[in-house]
């Protein structure tokens, strides 16, 4: 287990115990299907495990996106949120894009970050607008990808 994941494990189990902070799991996502001679499934999900009280929340972030049949994106890192009913959230970390086709397997590596502006409609449902930036520095052609996308969200916490 890498030092990074050891640190996250310690953080997850000690922070709420030591601070009495509230705990929340949230997934902001957008699925989309298209059948035009073939099935195309696109799925974006940005998932957080946050601790905090009042307006300040922080914790772990995992992003998983199915860009096409051949391309998936994954991001592992942290997230910080300011606000309650309406909020700003920054998510970011190390980024990996995997491309698979026939005998070709490519893995582009870099970093990614995202700013969300969102609102909690009730204790479970929410809406967000996400502006994300991804940077691939190695493993594939170097590139920068900027995306603006609305997201639905589901959350659970106590």
């Amino acid at each position: 287990m890498s030092v990074f994941f050891k640190f996250l494990t310690v953080l997850i189990f000690t922070l709420p115990l030591s601070s009495g902070a509230a705990f929340e799991i949230k997934s902001s996502f957008l699925p989309s299907l298209a059948f035009i001679n073939r099935a195309d499934v696109v799925f974006t999900s940005h998932n957080t495990l946050l601790f905090g009280t009042g307006d300040f929340w922080g914790g772990v972030y995992v992003g998983h996106e199915v860009i096409s049949d051949n391309v998936t994106d994954q991001t592992f890192g942290g997230a910080f949120r300011y606000g309650q009913q309406q909020f700003f959230e920054i998510q970011g970390g190390t980024f990996v894009r995997k491309f698979t086709q026939y005998q070709t397997d490519l893995e582009g590596k870099g970093f990614a970050a995202q700013i969300l502006y969102g609102t909690h409609l009730n204790s479970v449902f929410g809406l967000s607008l996400g502006l994300s930036g991804k940077r691939i520095n190695s493993g594939m052609e170097k590139r920068t990808i900027i995306t603006l996308l609305p997201l639905l969200s589901l959350r659970w916490g106590f």
Binding site: L33, E141, I145, I146, L152
Partner: protein
């Protein structure tokens, strides 16, 4: 087929109410390459649906604009029905028009959730000339 759609709308134009709804979503993406600038891409995709519903039925129009090309989109115009309640079901039939695929018979079916009196989330499956599309729509009743 275009004439049929016009007749269809004319026939049901009495269902056009003063209240209307707008629903859909849009996204944009730009990709910039360091060493192969000719491969750079920019695109905006949008799916939008306008409902002129009165008592949960009426004329609707759905625009599917895909970012791969300005002419890749299609328009579905038809007549829809919706159940009442917080969770609702919706269906509709009509005709679709597309620069690439021409005119075709189309339909929609789905379910949605009223978050408040005005705000709702809809999950319509749109069947039109190019194929079948499904994605969540965020909607507002005016």
């Amino acid at each position: 087929m275009k004439n049929l759609i016009c007749v269809f709308i004319f026939f049901f134009h009495g269902a056009v109410a003063s209240a209307w709804e707008l629903e859909g979503f849009a996204g944009a993406q730009t990709t910039s390459y360091d060493d192969v600038e000719e491969a750079n891409t920019n695109g905006i995709s949008a799916r939008a649906k306008v409902n002129f519903y009165a008592q949960n039925k009426g004329v609707f129009a759905n625009l599917n604009a895909r970012g791969i090309s300005p002419i890749a989109g299609d328009l579905l115009v038809g007549y829809g029905w919706r159940t009442s309640g917080t969770w609702f079901f919706e269906g509709g039939v009509g005709g679709s028009m597309s620069a690439i695929y021409g005119t075709n018979v189309g339909a929609l079916a789905g379910t949605g959730y009223h978050v408040s009196n005005n705000l709702f989330i809809n999950f319509p499956m749109i069947i039109s000339g190019p194929g079948i599309f499904w994605s969540p729509y965020i909607g507002y009743s005016f």
